[in-house]
Structures are given as C-alpha cells and as structure tokens.
Subunit: 195 residues, 4 copies
C-alpha cells in the first residue's frame, strides 16, 4: 500500500520507456504501458513526466547518452584496430543487421517520429550530429565527407531492413570506399582533427 521510498523510480520509468520503444515502437508508449513495464502505479508516470512527450524525450536522450548507443558506441567500435575505415564501418553494419535489431529499430523509430513531431526534432538531430562527429574524426575532419558517409550508411541500413536482400559486405565496402576516397585517417578515433 503505502508509498515505498523509491529514489530510482524516475530512472526506472525512463528505462521502461526505452524498453517499450525498442520492443514495440514509439507508438507502443503510453502512460499505462510504461507504468506496467516499470511496475509502478499509473499516477507515478504522470507525476514524474507531465506529458508523454516529456517522457519520450527523456528516454531518447538517455539512449543517446548511453555508451552503447549511436554516438559513443560507434566511436568505440570505429576506434578498434583492423583494416581501414571502410572495412570497420562494413563490419559494424554487418553486426547491426545481424544481431538484435532493436537498437537500430529504435534509432529509426526516432527518425520517423521526429519527421512529424517538432519536439523530437532536436533529439534526432543530436543523434545524427553525434554520429557525424564520430565519423568525421576518421576522415581528417572533413565534415562533408562524414555527412555523406552517415547518409550512405543510413540509406543502406534502410534498404537492408526493408527489402529482404542479404547483407553484401563487398558491395557495402565498395560504396563506402568511393565516398571516403583517400581521406581515411588510420590512427584516428580520439579527439579528432578539426578542419
């Protein structure tokens, strides 16, 4: 009965929202679904987050700050040794397509929602920018090339997820290589070179 003392409740609600958005999509988010997933009374979700948008934004930001997610997660993966940038991006993409896709789905879910909902646009832009920044460090600080790479990757991922085509590493690598040209900066990954 009585309210239990539960200082992490806010965080637990956010985590539940992330889980739901990943599993069922943003459309599956509701005060009720989150309350159930977080095992928290309904009123608690509206108490901590006045509106659903507020909760959704908090959830998305938490994901993008998470070391596993777009920004930092990719940074780690790309920093690893082995092959040129195209090779490492290809490996990364292959992994994303093969393993549990819920994180990828969540990312595109966010893009989708942001297309129509003003309030989410900044968060989506942050995700994109974070990813561009990571890539930029590997191409000698060339922002245009980084943006093109990210665009190509997003477009390829969408194609892979939408059509049934199998992931073809050679084709992917070849496309990335054309964009990269000779701009690959082998040792990069730390606070990159700005240009």
């Amino acid at each position: 009965m009585g309210r239990r003392y539960d200082p992490d409740r806010r965080e637990r609600i956010i985590d539940a929202a992330i889980r739901i958005a990943g599993d069922q999509g943003i459309a599956g988010l509701s005060h009720r679904s989150v309350a159930a997933e977080a095992d928290v009374p309904l009123g608690s979700t509206t108490y901590h987050f006045a509106t659903l948008d507020e909760l959704l934004i908090a959830a998305l930001r938490k994901v993008s700050d998470d070391p596993q997610s777009a920004g930092t997660g990719w940074a780690t993966a790309l920093a690893g040794p082995g092959g040129g940038l195209a090779e490492r991006l290809t490996a990364l993409l292959g992994g994303l397509v093969a393993e549990d896709r819920s994180r990828v789905r969540l990312e595109y879910e966010l893009y989708l929602a942001a297309l129509r909902r003003e309030a989410l646009r900044p968060v989506a832009a942050e995700w994109l920018d974070a990813f561009v920044e990571v890539v930029r460090a590997h191409v000698g600080g060339d922002a245009a090339t980084a943006r093109a790479l990210v665009a190509l990757i997003d477009g390829l991922l969408i194609q892979l997820l939408l059509t049934g085509r199998a992931f073809d590493p050679d084709e992917v690598r070849e496309g990335l290589l054309r964009i990269i040209g000779g701009r690959d900066v082998p040792g990069a990954g730390a606070p990159g070179v700005s240009g």
Copy 2:
C-alpha cells in the same frame, strides 16, 4: 437520407487518406479522420476498406502510381537535358527540398514505418525498387551503384528533413559524383541529352 449512389466514393476516400497522410502523417490516419476529410459517413470507410492498413496501402500505392512520385516522376526528371547524372539528381533533390516537403516526408515516413509494420513493407520495398531501377538505367545498368546512389540520396534527404541545415548543392553533387565515378551513361533511360 444522404446520397446513396456515389460511384467515386472509393476513390474519394483514398484521396482523402493521401491528403491526411501528407499533412498529418501516417499516424494521423483514422477511419474517422478520413471519413471527415472525404465528407463521407464513417461506415463508408470501413465498408470499402476492411482495415486501416488496407486503406493506407491503397493510398500509398496510388501515390506511387502518381506521375509526380518517385518512380515515374524521377524517370521523367532524370531524362531531361542538362548536365550529368549528378547534376540532374542534385537539381531534383534541391527542388524536392525547396517545394512543399510533404511528399518527401511521406516517403520517408513510409520507409521508417514499414520497418515496424509488416504490412507496409511490400509497398515500401516497391517504392525503393522503383527508384533504384530508374537510377540504374543511368549508370549503365550497374545495380550496386544504383543502390548506393539511392541510399546516399535517402540518407541525405533524411538529414535535411531532420536537422535544420540548408541544402548545399555543391556538397550533394560532390557526394553523388564520388559514387557515380565514371559510370554516368549520358543517353540512358530516356531520350535525355547529357552535357
């Protein structure tokens, strides 16, 4: 009471659905919103389309058959004279972004929504494939290059829609050129003239 014979009813409902999807997004579709927009009784929408998905798909297919849309529209635009493929694609993209963005938004909304909703996947795949086919005709039938071009374009458009950045024709053209390399086939696709 109301008019009982109305042979274009079905078409009018589809058109209303297209308008709503364009204006408010796919999420704005409901039997009620469509009925209101089409000025038709609620029961009429469920009579002609057993489920909302059925209506949505009919609407999306009608959009893709529209001469304005991806397949046909792009074919015409790319066939026109003036510059190489990269140049023409850049102009096309510039146009899309400049004018009313609702059609572009609808396209990406479909792609992203299809990631989650099985039923939309075939239509989305059709849109993608149609676009790839059009582009392929201009790169000497090289499917891999066509797919990469479409991916790059999709990614760039998503970036434009989500971030506030302005459309930069030079940057876009440069990206496209890198993918195209020397594969541009001047006379392809239609009686186009290259420069």
Copy 3:
C-alpha cells in the same frame, strides 16, 4: 460477376448457418459470417432471409429434422439392441460427451438463446418434445417418466460439460435406473405405445 444460377443457394445458406452456430455459437451468426461461410454475396443472405432470426430459426429447424439430430437420431440409437434402456441411454450419453461435441453444444446453444428470445422458444420446445417422445416409447408411454428422464439427462450433460468431472457410467446408469424403475419396455423403439 453476373448472378450464377444457383437453385440450392437458400439451402447452402442454411447449412452455413448451422456450421457457424455449431462452431462459434449462435452469437457468431451474422449476415456477414454466414455469407462468407456459404461463399455467397452478403445481399444474398438478406434476400433469402429478411432477418437474422428468420435464418436462425430455419437453421435450427433443419437441424431438428435432420436424422442425425436430437429426435430421430436418438430414436435410432435407442432402438438398437443391447441391454436395457438405462444401459443404452448411458452409452448414448458417453458417446455424446466423448465425440465431437458441436452437436451437443448447438443444442444447448439453442436452449440458451430460447431462454431470452421469444421467437426461438417454439423451436426449442419442439426439440425437447421430440426427445421426450422418443424416450416415452421406451417406458410404456409414460410421459411423466419420459420427461423426468430427459430432464435428468440434460442436467447430467450440463454438469459434465461445465465441470471437469469425468463421465462415470455407473453413476449415470444408476440415476437413470432409479427414474425408470421397472418401466423399461424392451422391444420398443418403433411407433410406441401411447398412454
């Protein structure tokens, strides 16, 4: 397109209604469900049967006239050789409970519907009376005993179907025997003795 010449259509609709009532219950009957099951246009069902009740009654009457059903079906089964009346009734009940229960279900479905719907009461009464008549022939024309037997059987069937209890032939036979007493008329089964 055009209307096929289909003189059995009316009958096919009734049969479809019987199938649906047996499988999904009377509540599952609708012009639509019947039309689909009979593979007939929706308008056809309302053309042949002005209201749903009309169709339902036609269906129930057809079942009760069917040699397989309550009246005649039981007559045949009870007429067979082997043991006294209690024994044969017990075997019959065991069979009903064990095999496909849809016919039993349909019978009780009818009782249920008739409890509240005036129009169905005569049909339900006919079923009951037909059954009583059959049994009566086996107890020397004693109507009261026949009614009690039918009542006991209905009550036992309901208990068996509702609770998970296993069918206990000895218990059932014993109950029937108490009602029958010495009234069993071995050779009966044909146009019985009236009294």
Copy 4:
C-alpha cells in the same frame, strides 16, 4: 464537472450489471448499457473492470453470494420444516417458477453460456457445486444422489422455462422421490424437522 469522488462507484456498477443481466440477459450487457443503468460515465465501467468478462464475473459472483441465491438461499429453504426432502424441493421449485423468473433464467443462462465461454466456466461450476453441496447434506452425504437430484432439477426447470407447460407438483415430487429413494435424512443440513 461530474462528481469526482464516489467510493461506492464500483459496487453500483456491479449492481447495474446484475439488473441488466436479469432483465435482458447476459447478452444485454455492454459497457454502455451498464454505464447508463448505473448512471456513470462510460469510462468508469472500463476503469473498474478492464474487460466485460471481468464485470460479468464480478456480477455473477455477487449474485451467488446473495442470500437469495442458489447456495445460501436454498440451504435456508431446505432447512425449513415441513415434509420430506422431495416435498420441500418441490415447494421450492414451485416458488421459483411462480415468482419473478428472472433469477432462474439468469442461472440457466449462466450455465448454458458457460458451455461456450471459458471465462464463465469457473463461476458456473461454483454455482453448481454449491447447490450440490446443499442437497448432499440432506441425503446423508451421498454425492452421487445429490448430483442426480441437482441434474433432475436443472433439467426440469429448463423444460419449464422453455416449454409452456404448467408446473405439476405431483409429477415433480414423484421424480425427485425416485432419485432420493430412502436416502432422505430428516434432521440434516440445519435444524429442520421432517414430517
């Protein structure tokens, strides 16, 4: 706006459901009909009872806890003085059939509806078992006889409700007597006096 605090709301909804089920039958229950009968907003019924089945079951259980109903009511009635068990049961049945039949109808509606609807089966089985237990106390604990008596009574009541026949006390008493045989236990169940 409307009254916002109303602690008996839940109970009032259940009572409304009972009234509707009694008057119009189980099929007459809908969130709307209950809300109207209880003079409560529609959302209130779904707030307190997530599904209609939940509400229906709550209502049926409340009926069976009611001192008027099968379990308790019959226990009291059978405990009273006057005649043997058959006599008292006959009187009881006569009373049930003579007075407002809506409660009897509701009982058999539940039994028959439960044949189809899994969710109702437990409640129906409870009703049946409670009745059997009451009767069992009067036949020296003989469960088989109690079950047969209840079955006979159920079958007879169904016949009475469905056919137009008048209640014939002699016939009913005779049937009950045959099942009971000499098992009547005068002083059983409660401080009843047999004659």
